[in-house]
Amino acid sequence: MSLINRTLFRTLVQGTQHVKALHTSSVNAEKNVCYAPISAMQPNANKEGRIKCTLIPGDGVGPELVYAVQEVFKAANIPVDFESFFFSEVNPTLSAPLEDVVNSVAKNKICIKGILATPDFSHTGELQTLNMKLRNALDLYANVVHVKSLPNVKCRHHDVDCIIIREQTEGEYSALEHESVPGVVECLKIITAAKSERIAKFAFDYAVKMGRKKVTAVHKANIMKLGDGLFLRSCEQMAKLYPRIEFEKMIVDNCTMQMVSNPNQFDVMVTPNLYGNIVDNLASGLVGGAGVVAGASYSAECAVFEQGARHIFSGAVGKNIANPTAMLLCSANLLAHVNLHNYSKMIKNAINKVLKDGKVRTKDLGGQSTTKDFTFAVIHSLA
């Protein structure tokens, strides 16, 4: 009952904010950034001024986490509508066709996505996973994971704050494997100059946008002199265009060691595909695990927001124990991406407040609360 009251009250408050916003006249004030007109002006918004967003719940605990996001959006009265697709590789009969999902994301330009499970052995003999197909179809070449220590999440390292940028359309994930003679399998790792330059530029531009100081290229060019060499050379080339950002390179094995011993030295990291995957997960582990790190994938046209470390956590399905923090942070990032900064801040502040209070913690953070408890705690802290 109290919850209903609260939600009702908030709706009313927001209603008055809309009215206020229509009449503001000061130029430099923050209050100028009003809610209703902005959303009404999105090109991908429909008539009532609401933004459409593709939603892929994914496998494992994905649907539960996505549900948490929807709850929070509903409570905060955020003008975003979801276009939901069940998309799954382990459940091919129920899955929506790839084209439909791709068309929807291409149309809406934004998507929020749970994790897709990938079976270890292909049933159809295909080497490409559904995840890879989606990425290739949309050309989602850059994966960004912002690893940041959260308040009151006890970890070995404090104040970790690094951004890991990963190329995710080529490299080891080319899905080109063959058995040339029985017992000998060759897997092709593809590195191209065009894509390496593109990801390097993305990393530097991202660093500029976020006001970062340093970009570290992670590679293994001492062994793969040609492939990783090309990647490294492309990064070096691009670094020349950014004289005010420091550029350094680090071999991936050393990088992982440095990461666990002294993670604070890193700022922005740019990596080829597989190394990125490993470093992402390693860094996520440093700040509290898969449940608290948000990520996003970008193409030139669209952005897909998903968890930073991709684990389906199938052991927890239906147990109501998964941590929705990562997914909620994703949704906050999504809102910032479509210029709804106030809503984004509201959700981020609420999450920080709940974590700081420390009363409601899910199991992975050493508490006993459920997913729903946490979601409701966040909703109660929305301000």
């Binding site: 950034v33 902005i38 002006m41 530029k201």
Partner: protein, 387 residues
Amino acid sequence: MAVRLLAKLRVPEIRNVANFSSAAAPATLSDFDVQHKTPVIRKQQLIPKAQYGGRHAVTMLPGGGIGPECMGYVREIFKYVGAPVDFEVVDIDPTMDNDDDVQYAITTIKRNGVGIKGNIETKSEAAYVTSRNVALRNELDMYAYVLNCKSYPGVVTRHKDIDVCIIRQNTEGEYAMLEHESVNGVIESMKVVTASNSLRVARFAFEYAKRNGRKKVTTVHKANIMKLSDGLFLETSRRLAKEYPDIEHNDMIIDNCCMQLVAKPHQFDVMLMTNLYGSIVSNVVCGLLGGAGLLSGRNYGDHYAVFEPGTRNTGTAIAGKNVANPVAMINASIDMLEHLGHHFHADLIRRAVNKTINVDRVMTSDVGGTASSTDVVNAIIGNIGRC
């Protein structure tokens, strides 16, 4: 000298000229010098576009005078309409004698592809410090400058319904910055006109006319006096005009042109001219339409585009007094949004600006209003999405 130039003129292959001059440049010169001493078409290294998740990165050079405050208004409006653009602000210190900041600014435009700028001051009068604005245009090889001059019905002026488009060669001519004192007391300033650059800008003008449904191109020149340099420019545009039979082409001498502009401006459609004449004519037309604060200009090269207020005035005298007209910079930002393909947002802002000036008549004092800069910006923001 003249004979040699004439001989060069008769060479039918224009492409060779570019190759010839770049090969002639001594290897000791830096890239920057080469561009200034030998104005040739430079091969630019292509860099991937700065567009991520539908958002563009754009370099913002506030420049001096009223630039920073106007940029503030632009950001305000962009924030309000939610334009998917992220600005990378580069401040250039006008008192510095070296070109580090300018070089950095050029680099950022190279990697972003698009920039928006106020007028950058060059305080130093030392001969070796080049004008920053010119350096920027030369280095980025932005050979065409487009100024779209359309009357605002709300601004009271002597002539109504002017709609002229000025296209100006932007990198050579009188702005070659080649001056020397050959004997004491005698200074020679070189005006450089190349066939390749003339051809490029002429083609740009005719293509522009064709794509925008314009009827006529007028080449402005002074070929009766400068028979070789302006003659080359005129000859090139005449030759090219034959490729566009649908578009009428005529030419006019610059002095006559200025007179005609202030007397009968409606006879002009698209105007094509060399660098210095462009500077003069665009200021004349801006004056006819209501001054420096309204129009916006566009600099185009093959790979980069930079948008700025039309008359390139710094406005140092009125900086910080909240009286500067913000419309020019806002128009520049609209041009930029259109260039990036965000027609939806561009249209929203344009309609709001038009309504503010033509219907609500909220204007700054330079165009006959009484409002302050912030009043105008507020009025525009108030009109966004409601007209």
